[in-house]
């Protein structure tokens, strides 16, 4: 698929993702968890479409900085807001949201962190964009769009005053999780 570039295209992806959630979870009162920073933006957009009542509790956020696998190589990461799961995860259905799915390492870290809060009944991974380059046996359950990128190209979700947009960066940038 070609890169969704306009606001309208992104909104369509989000609407489709929201519909898939409705189909699968309308009677389950799931919990929504966004991964900092882009995943939180996507989760908020979904919350806007589905309404607060669809979920059992306010949006949870995860900062996976302390669960990464590159501490020895990269050291401490710049500070972002700490994790905040304002609910008990035990026996609940969690919808884990990220912006771009790439290597799978962020998801691995997020799953480890979630299980330090408790034991959810299920975890469903939902991403706005899935790109090629998976390095772990983890893949998303609900995907907005799938794109093929060159090795070295990086896709970032950005947020500005007029909303969310995707930014494609060319080779040369440091490989990130």
């Amino acid at each position: 698929m070609t890169m969704p570039s306009t606001q309208a295209e992104l909104q369509t992806l989000l609407e489709n993702m929201a519909n898939m959630l409705r189909e699968q979870f309308s009677d389950k009162k799931p919990l929504l968890v966004g991964i900092h920073t882009g995943g939180v933006w996507v989760a908020r957009a979904l919350l806007e479409i589905l309404g607060e009542d669809f979920f059992a509790a306010p949006l949870g956020t995860l900062n996976i900085a302390y669960y990464r696998d590159d501490f020895t190589r990269i050291g401490m990461h710049p500070q972002v807001s700490p994790s905040d799961l304002p609910f008990d995860v035990d026996n609940r259905h969690l919808i884990l949201v990220d912006d771009v799915f790439y290597s799978g390492r962020t998801t691995r870290a997020a799953l480890n962190e979630i299980f330090d809060y408790g034991r959810p009944a299920t975890v469903t991974l939902m991403v706005l964009i899935e790109r090629n380059g998976r390095e772990l046996p983890i893949r998303p359950d609900i995907v907005g769009a799938t794109v093929q990128l060159e090795k070295g190209q990086q896709l970032k979700l950005r947020k500005s005053a007029d909303g969310l947009h995707l930014e494609l960066r060319e080779a040369g940038a440091v490989h990130a999780q």
Binding site: N63, Y66, G75
Partner: protein, 324 residues
């Protein structure tokens, strides 16, 4: 002397003293501690950040609170911890400090947390460890106790927010206190409006005025309108040195009683680094009273030590980069 606390990239490598560190770094330590403090409330009170790292607590001087909070901080970061309580007489049997150190280094230690009754001991060890090893000063003689000072700053920030507007009084034996020295450096680096020290002449350093503090010998004057009162432990062994007439006399003049606390602002907080001598430097009713944040200080010590340990071990990546 202290420039080797930072890597070439400006990251914290060792944490030996507050002296020479800039405000953004102290703020970063507190911000990171803020992030770590939530972990204590989770089902699993642990993050895997320092998994596989080995930390040695090297205590040449007794300590319960400091050693156990360092140990807990390391464990909450998933590091492996070894505690060595070495009394100096045992090491003097044969092995020198450096021999002890190199033996522990040979066990692939990543960090030493050092407490010693000699000023400069942590600095000395930092000068002799391998480049990838970090040293944290957990108190050296009368010199410095930087993690204590940072947990105190963190506690003040939790209650008062803006350092610039504050009046802070430190009461007691400033002369022999590494805690007071580090606190004064941290308070002034963070831009605290007014720092006061209160104590008898014999327990205040002669160069007090050059440290940018206001000196008082009277509690009523010194506590007038302050936002924070930090009481220091009176080391009872000082009595023998004829620096003080008696504990009872000290309590009468400088003990923090409810009556004396009334000179401070009504919402002033009362702090103490512990262990407390009740009825010597502080009345029980004040130590256990509504304005006391003494137990909070202990809790905050864990988060601050997690912040400092993770930042120092994170700076190892600067050496990794250099080799790559």
């Amino acid at each position: 002397m202290h420039s080797n606390q930072l890597t070439e990239q400006g990251h914290l490598r060792h944490f030996l003293t507050i002296e020479g560190l800039k405000r953004p770094l102290l703020t970063e330590i507190m911000d990171r501690a803020e992030q770590f403090s939530g972990i204590g409330h989770r089902q699993v009170k642990k993050v895997p950040l320092l998994r596989g790292k080995t930390i040695v607590n090297l205590f040449f001087e007794n300590s319960t609170r400091t050693r156990s909070t360092f140990e807990l901080a390391a464990k909450r970061l998933s590091a492996d911890v070894m505690n060595f309580n070495i009394n100096t007489s045992a090491t003097s049997k044969g092995e020198s400090l450096l021999d002890t150190l190199h033996n522990l280094e040979a066990m692939h230690t990543d960090m030493f947390v050092v407490r010693h009754n000699q000023s400069g001991a942590a600095e000395f060890i930092a000068q002799h460890v391998a480049p990838y090893v970090s040293v944290i000063n957990a108190g050296d003689g009368c010199h410095a106790h930087p993690t204590q000072a940072m947990l105190d700053m963190f506690t003040i920030r939790r209650h008062k927010q803006h350092f610039a507007d504050l009046r802070v009084a430190i009461v007691g034996d400033i002369l022999h206190s590494r805690v007071a020295r580090s606190q004064i450096q941290a308070l002034s680096t963070l831009g605290v409006g007014e720092i006061r020290v209160i104590g008898p002449q014999t327990l205040l350093p002669r160069d007090c005025h050059t440290m940018g503090v206001h000196v008082y010998h009277d509690m009523a004057e010194g506590l007038e309108g302050v936002d924070v009162v930090i009481t220091l432990r009176l080391q009872l062994e000082r009595m023998q040195g004829a620096l003080l007439p008696s504990a009872r006399e000290y309590y009468r003049c400088f003990g923090l009683t409810p009556e004396k606390l009334r000179y401070a602002k009504p919402d002033a907080i009362v702090m103490h680094p512990g262990p407390i001598n009740r009825g010597v430097e502080i009345a029980s009713s004040v130590a256990d009273g509504p304005q006391s944040v003494i137990l909070e200080q202990v809790t905050h010590g864990i988060a601050i030590r997690m912040a400092v340990m993770s930042m120092a071990l994170g700076s190892q990546s600067d050496f990794y980069e250099a080799e790559a």
